[in-house]
């Protein structure tokens, strides 16, 4: 039995927020989680062939994209939390609990995606421990994101500790800063999983490490804008307007940097099509089988619309910021999906005599199967359930 004072201290973090109307989201999460879990179990029983539409031409499909989508957003959130701590930015510190809970939930969602994408998820932990290959970038990516999950779990504990002492505050600042460093490192290393690949020229190089980090931070800001609008049903309290406006500006800046990254990557490749710099992939994006995704999903949804909404409202309208955040998140998903698929255009060209026959057709035949979408839904379910129940029972806002 707890006494009065510990009750009060516990109630500073654990409560039942009557005014926070997030149960519909949490219940959506539960339904998504159950449907997704059924798909996951069926995949474990039947194997990838019956549930996924992967092929030798496109061995990495939707789930690698959704993995990148989730974990890069988590990195971005950790980055924003880290800025709060590093620069004592009160606008971000105010929502620090929310950031940590969200980053943790999104990262968990990401882990479900890679887990289901693997042919043998259970072997992963064992062989990564007993015989890790440290020259494989994917090993480091796994290690860094696992560390990130632990750091976020620890930070979660620190920020939710009732009656935190001065020392706890200092510790949580240090841990938050570490989460930022490891989050960014992990995102850049995920970029290097592709950047280290010499077989696929579109992937090769340092470009995607940068792009992943920048677009991930932008996604973190977008996610916070969107979720705040969900939590308050479009009426974000004025005490948070400075925070939201600052996030809107961060998002717009991120999109601005992305425009540069896109422009020069595309120009450099198109200008020298013979240089084996991924011209076939860019062609597929600009005018080939992925062009609707690219122009509609990436350019319109990840760049033009959200940027327009933030600029036109000078980042002051909470509702518009929430909408811009939502649109960016959808666009951000396209940036990852297109990237993963375009990069796998069949290698070869002239040097691979005989390659011109069916390989493009096989490549273009990749459309995610419903099983893959359901596993992605599992990821969304994990996020919605974990995050919105946390909103309901935890005190996620504090004064400073």
């Amino acid at each position: 039995m707890s006494n009065d004072s510990s009750d009060r201290s516990l109630s500073s973090v654990i409560t039942w927020n009557k005014d926070v109307k997030v149960m519909p989201y949490a219940l959506f999460g539960v339904v998504a989680l159950i449907v997704g879990a059924v798909a996951a179990i069926m995949t474990l029983i039947n194997g990838h062939d019956t549930m996924f539409n992967l092929s030798p031409e496109v061995p990495w499909g939707l789930l690698i994209a959704s993995y990148a989508f989730f974990v890069l957003t988590a990195s971005g959130l950790a980055f924003i939390g880290g800025i709060g701590h590093a620069f004592g930015n009160s606008a971000y510190l105010k929502i620090n609990r929310r950031i940590v809970v969200m980053a943790f939930a999104v990262l968990l969602a990401g882990f479900t995606q890679i887990g289901m994408e693997l042919g043998h998820p259970l072997r992963l932990a064992w062989y990564m421990l007993v015989s890790p290959n440290f020259s494989a970038p994917i090993t480091w990516m796994g290690v860094l994101y696992s560390i990130e999950l632990l750091i976020l779990a620890f930070e979660l504990y620190l920020v939710l500790k009732p009656n935190p002492t001065e020392k706890d505050h200092r510790n949580s600042a240090v841990v938050g800063f570490c989460a930022m460093i490891f989050g960014v490192l992990a995102a850049a290393t995920l970029g290097f999983v592709f950047g280290s690949n010499t077989a696929r020229p579109f992937f090769h190089g340092s470009y995607f490490s940068t792009f992943f980090v920048v677009s991930g931070i932008t996604a973190g800001a977008a996610m916070l804008l969107f979720v705040h609008n969900l939590v308050y049903w479009g009426r974000v309290p004025s005490s948070l307007s400075k925070t939201m406006s600052s996030l809107g500006k961060l998002m717009a800046t991120g999109i601005g940097v992305m425009i540069f990254l896109y422009l020069w990557k595309i120009l450099a490749t198109v200008y020298t099509p013979a240089a084996d710099g991924g011209y076939a992939a860019i062609r597929e994006l600009l005018s080939g089988s992925l062009s609707t995704n690219f122009w509609g999903g990436e350019i319109l949804l990840a760049i033009v619309l959200p940027l327009f909404l933030v600029l036109i409202t000078k980042a002051q309208s909470m509702k518009m910021l929430g909408l811009a955040g939502f649109i960016y998140i959808v666009g951000f998903f396209f940036t990852k999906y297109d990237f993963i698929i375009a990069g796998q255009v069949p290698v070869g060209g002239d040097d691979f005599i005989g390659s011109g026959i069916n390989r493009m057709a096989d490549f273009q035949a990749y459309v995610p199967a419903s099983g893959e979408w359901l596993i992605m839904l599992l990821g969304c379910g994990v996020f919605f359930t974990f995050y919105f129940f946390a909103e309901k029972i935890l005190v996620l806002e504090k004064e400073s």
Binding site: N46, G47, H48, D49, T50, F52, L54, P56, E57, P59, W60, E117, L118, G119, H120, P121, R123, L124, Y127, M128, S131, P132, N133, S135, A136, P137, I138, T139, G142, V193, S196, N197, T198, A199, R200, D276, Q344, P346, V347, G348, D351, F352, I353, G354, S355, G356, I357, R359
Partner: protein, 202 residues
């Protein structure tokens, strides 16, 4: 010792005997090909022809698939052969994306029968025990046959004798002698993977 192969494109008639010999010896399940012949149509009727190019794992000296494998399931043995240890493979497929030659295949379900609507035959059943689900597999130059001093199945079966196999490190081997006389080229050599499979021009 570094095993290697020469494929003489001037001799290859595109008969796919290698494809079948590979399947028959290794018992690779349906849709899994370790040895393939790519076919390109050239020209227009009546001046048309097909141009075959056999491909298989190139057993690259600087193998990107081995570097990319997180668990060490993909490894290179002392004879230069690149293997996959199926028990260690977690099915992450990074090796497939790292390989420019399409040499690796992922098995995402139970092996299927080659005969539509029929169960797997007894032979298939026995052969399929070598393949586990959820992992990647690939050509190993028929390492089991090499141990018994036999040539890889595709080499032994080629009716046009378009495939020559041997030790690239031994200056006296047939492969080395041919490569001194005729310049063989490797596919996608600019990728820098140093394949052990050489092609002689048509």
């Amino acid at each position: 010792m570094r095993y290697g192969m020469i494929i003489d494109l001037a001799r290859c008639i595109g008969c796919n005997a290698c494809t079948v010999a590979c399947k028959s010896h290794n018992g690779t399940p349906k849709d899994i090909f370790w040895s393939q012949v790519l076919v390109e149509e050239k020209g227009e009727y009546p001046n048309a022809r097909v141009v075959p190019t056999p491909i298989l794992c190139m057993h690259c000296e600087d193998a990107p698939c081995v570097k990319a494998c997180p668990t060490g399931a993909s490894y290179k043995d002392e004879n230069g052969i690149v293997h996959v240890n199926q028990d260690k493979c977690i099915g992450c497929k990074s090796c497939m994306v790292a390989c420019a030659y399409d040499a690796r295949k992922f098995m995402g379900g139970e092996p299927k029968s080659y005969f539509p609507g029929k169960e797997v035959t007894e032979l298939e059943e026995v052969q399929h025990t070598e393949f586990s689900r959820g992992v990647v597999s690939k050509c190993d130059f028929c390492a089991d046959r090499l141990k018994e001093d036999l040539l890889p199945a595709c080499v032994g079966t080629c009716p046009a004798q378009a495939r020559i196999f041997g030790d690239l490190d031994d200056p006296g081997s047939e492969v080395s002698k041919i490569l001194v006389k005729k310049s063989g080229r490797t596919l996608l050599s600019h990728k820098g993977t140093k394949p052990s499979v050489y092609y002689l021009a048509r």
